[in-house]
């Protein structure tokens, strides 16, 4: 049996749906309620509390920590100030993405790297000859993600420091009640939010503190189904869903470069050498073959297809993590990797990979839609990401 997380004693009694889902090495709540709609809306209107402990976490310390990380990730670590957080991918020698995650700079030479898959061996392999200590703290560190417009007000009740001073993608040490934590102004929701990191042993205590402070604000415990809708609206990709790690790809065609995933902004070719640099430098000089884009499926078309079958339109209310073909005229031009109905923007949206030259914003496409067991085509168009971007996200 897969273990629960350090918060299991708190999340289990709340999980009325008994809807447990695997996430990495653990199980977490898929949704707490039988219907996860409320959990999603909490992210957008009040606040939602997610257990994100299953993330892999590595503590990286030592005089050469910066050098190691600069060798591994595609962004320039020397530009990451103490107290700052970088979102970044990392690649293999061919410049194909292995994983992506966040890097917290907790001290001059103290970092925490979080990611979706195990990367310990990769870090070791790149540390040869460096004075650096790499520790897998995945099980020692528990984490909660508090996301939504009321997140700051809730956390401020517990946090002695003024949270207005903690800027987007920054991190600080703090003490909530008697629990020592790091608070990062991050999240996977595209909304105002924080992630709070603590020792596993203190996890239940941290949950209780936030839970109680959140009550008056309508805090809702939320599972990964709700998060999965929010992150698509935010245009955030997910490993194993929107791309395959170069490490796991069965064939070359399944690998992607950061440029092909819309992460070109996170590749710094000016910095010292890093894994994949040569390949990426070369790729950058060539026209892109693929691009990661947002698509919006035409509602009237979908409605028409279903109405013709005598049915009300059906769209995925949970993120459909399946590849759906996209066509232009009769030609296959790519695929959507995550599609969902966006409740807040009232749009049928998807994250998609499109072949050159069909990825320009505004390009008209068709997406495959299954209506009464038959494959039909609904029109769709390429749109800018993210789909939902409230000013409070960065506030």
């Amino acid at each position: 049996m897969l273990p629960g997380t350090p918060f299991h004693s708190r999340t289990a009694p709340l999980c009325a749906a008994h809807n447990w889902r695997r996430w990495g090495p653990c199980v977490v709540a898929g949704s707490y309620d039988l219907h996860p709609e409320r959990e999603y809306f909490a992210v957008r209107t009040s606040a939602a509390l997610f257990d994100v402990s299953p993330l892999y976490k590595y503590a990286i310390r030592g005089v050469d920590a910066t050098r190691l990380l600069n060798r591994v990730i595609t962004r320039d670590v020397s530009r990451c100030r103490v107290g700052q957080v970088f979102y970044t991918p990392w690649c293999d020698a061919a410049g194909k993405v292995l994983d992506d995650g966040t890097l917290q700079r907790l001290g001059e030479s103290v970092f925490r790297l979080t990611c979706a898959e195990p990367n310990l061996q990769w870090l070791y392999a790149n540390a040869t000859g460096l004075q650096v200590e790499i520790e897998d703290v995945s099980e020692q560190v528990a984490a909660l993600s508090l996301q939504g417009p009321s997140a700051r007000a809730i956390l401020q009740h517990l946090c002695p420091a003024d949270l207005n001073d903690l800027r987007y993608f920054h991190v600080m040490g703090s003490q909530l009640g008697s629990v020592a934590v790091e608070i990062s102004r991050t999240g996977y929701s595209g909304d105002l939010g924080y992630e709070v990191w603590c020792e596993a042993a203190a996890a239940p205590q941290l949950w209780d503190l936030i839970w109680e402070a959140g009550m008056p604000y309508g805090l809702v415990p939320a599972g990964i189904l709700a998060l999965d809708v929010a992150r698509v609206e935010a245009g955030l990709l997910l490993l194993d869903v929107d791309y395959t790690s170069a490490r796991a790809a069965a064939i070359e065609a399944r690998k992607s470069s950061p440029y092909e995933l819309g992460l070109g902004w996170a590749v710094d070719l000016r910095k010292e050498n890093f894994v994949g640099r040569a390949a990426l430098a070369l790729e950058q000089t060539r026209p892109a073959q693929w691009r990661f884009v947002g698509i919006e499926v035409d509602w009237l078309d979908v409605e028409g297809l279903f109405n013709a079958a005598g049915l009300a339109p059906q769209v995925p209310t949970q993120t459909l993590r399946a590849s759906v073909p996209l066509y232009l005229s009769d030609e296959w031009v790519g695929y959507a990797s995550s599609t969902v109905w966006s409740p807040i923007t009232k749009r049928y949206i998807g994250l998609a990979h499109l072949r050159a030259p069909h990825f320009a914003t505004g390009t008209s496409l068709q997406m495959e839609v299954t209506v009464e067991h038959q494959r039909r085509l609904a029109s769709a168009k390429v749109v800018e990401l993210p789909f939902y971007d409230p000013p409070r996200k960065r506030s």
Partner: protein, 526 residues
């Protein structure tokens, strides 16, 4: 010379704003004139007690047309609709009926009251949804004129006929029954559980001066299912920020297309010349001219107050005078220090996050109506209660709440009139009734706003405080709304149009009257 607009819209309720947005989107120069300091009419949010926001009048959105949300990009202009989870009917004996989003849970719950009803509940829902599907096109259609049909009227009638024919025998018969029966009789054919029947029938009596046993009250049951067939696009729920957020979003869309909106600008009269509307005079005497004038006020106010009698044909005027617009509802808004605790289902839960219906039985509702028939407000009123702050915590300070109580019946023509003392007595009746189910309510009330139909009239201008600008009875719907022969948004005065809830498809936060009227104006060459 002063500027001449393409169109003046009288009244900045949501329909006036929708009409303005569509005209501006088509490139016309539009001016909206609203008498109050804020737009929205019966669709407003106001902070009458610091920190607590009331959806003062309308409180849930259900019929807002998806095409309007799309055409005007209302989501981009800030409209967010949050789901309501449940319908909770507390009962006097200490029991309750709770219906929620989960099918199996709801089945179990109804089963507790009636195993038979639990099984037919789904079948009923399916039938109603199918009928709603057949009837839905009507909401987006300019009513045909069957008495003097033009080419387009015939086409609409044919289209309608084919939809209805496609229903097939059994469903067609059900539709015919719905059109003619009372909600009580119709539901009696299906169910036996009193709180279930009463709560469902309530949607048929909201805003009307009918009881659940009055013929014609069944049709509105369908409206409840209209939203469902829009699939994920349905608009059933609570607008974040209260219903005023809907008006704000529409106003913002209208402005983005170039419409001008003036508040504190009450229109006194429509200026006419040779039977044609030329503009309006404001209460302060200012005259503003336009190629067309469209009024979103109710038909009585538009024709009997803003138009000179000489401008209207006598028969038309009489028909408008006969138009039924009886006020029957009141509203009580509360600021609460803590949540109500229901004796039948204590504590916090899904039951507080949806609609709370005080409708224990058919007799209860009918007796509530009996009081009103004889000029009293109901001693034990029907209520549709919502705790908006549980759905959008931004409606009240942290840990505190607002409560919206829609109350029926409160007749406009109350014996002795709506004095301050009567208003207070009405407010007390509402609170006392709720305290029978949730006794801690009284001690937690921080502020109370009581609105009689007379108050609704004086604030919004809705004649008699009728919430739909005229009853949604079958004799006043579709090509009969507001009066036969004038259901296509035009009026006997050339260049004067109607675009409010008094026109097809009627009241509620729907927007269709405003949209269809704008389209007719454009069709006429505006």
């Amino acid at each position: 010379m002063a500027k001449r607009y393409d169109a003046i819209i009288v009244g900045g309720g949501h329909n006036g704003l929708v009409a303005a947005a569509y005209l501006a989107r088509a490139g016309r120069e539009v001016l909206v004139l609203e008498q109050r300091h804020l737009v929205g009419g019966a669709t407003v949010t106001e902070e009458l007690y610091p920190g607590f926001k009331y959806s003062v009048f309308s409180y849930v959105v259900s019929l807002l047309r998806p095409e309007i949300m799309r055409d005007l990009s209302l989501a981009r202009h800030g409209l967010e609709i949050l789901p309501l989870e449940s319908t909770f009917t507390p009962l006097p004996g200490g029991d309750y009926l709770l219906r929620g989003p989960d099918h199996a849970q709801t089945h179990r719950e109804i089963y507790r009251h009636s195993p038979r009803d639990a099984d037919v509940y789904d079948e009923y829902g399916r039938l109603m949804a199918q009928m709603a599907m057949a009837v839905r096109p009507i909401l987006g259609m300019v009513p045909p004129d069957p008495a003097a049909p033009g080419w387009r009227d015939l086409q609409s009638l044919a289209q309608l006929g084919s939809h209805v024919r496609a229903l097939g025998g059994e469903r067609f018969h059900a539709l015919a029954k719905l059109m003619t029966m009372s909600a009580a009789d119709f539901l009696d054919e299906w169910f036996e559980c009193e709180p279930l029947k009463a709560t469902m029938s309530a949607s048929g009596i909201i805003g009307t001066f009918l009881g659940p046993r009055s013929p014609g009250s069944a049709y509105v049951l369908l409206h409840h299912y209209m939203g469902e067939i829009d699939g994920a696009f349905r608009a059933w729920g609570f607008a974040r920020g209260g219903t005023g957020a809907i008006s704000s979003a529409i106003a913002s869309a209208a402005r983005s297309f170039g419409a001008e909106i003036r508040t504190n600008a009450a229109v006194q009269q429509v200026i006419t010349k040779n039977g044609r509307a030329m503009g309006v005079v404001l209460a302060d005497g200012e005259e503003i001219y336009a190629r067309v004038v469209a009024s979103s006020l109710d038909p009585k106010r538009t024709f009997l107050k803003l138009c000179a009698p000489a401008d209207l044909p006598t028969e038309f005027r009489e028909a408008i005078e006969r138009f039924k617009i009886r006020g029957s509802s009141g509203k009580v808004n509360l600021s609460l220090a803590a949540l109500p605790n229901f004796t039948s289902l204590p504590g916090m839960g899904m039951h507080l996050r949806g609609s709370i219906s005080i409708s224990p039985s058919m007799d209860y509702l009918e007796q509530a109506f009996d009081d009103a028939k004889y000029g009293e407000f109901s001693r034990h009123p029907y209520m549709d209660v919502l705790i908006p702050s549980l759905i959008d915590p931004g409606m009240a300070p942290p840990g505190q709440h607002v409560m919206s109580c829609f109350v029926q019946y409160a007749p406009y023509n109350l014996k002795g009139g709506w004095t301050d003392a009567q208003r207070t007595a009405f407010g007390d009746t509402v609170v006392n009734t709720l305290c029978e189910y949730a006794p801690n309510l009284r001690e937690n009330i921080l502020h109370r706003q009581v609105l009689s139909p007379a108050d609704i009239e004086s604030v919004t201008g809705l004649t008699e405080g009728n919430i739909f600008q005229g009853e949604l009875a079958l004799n006043q719907l579709f090509f009969l709304r507001p009066v036969p022969g004038w259901a296509q948004y035009r009026t006997p005065v050339r260049a004067l149009y109607q675009c409010g809830s008094g026109t097809h498809p009627g009241g509620g936060i729907c927007g269709a009257p405003g949209r269809l009227a704008a389209m007719e104006m454009l069709r006429d060459g505006l």
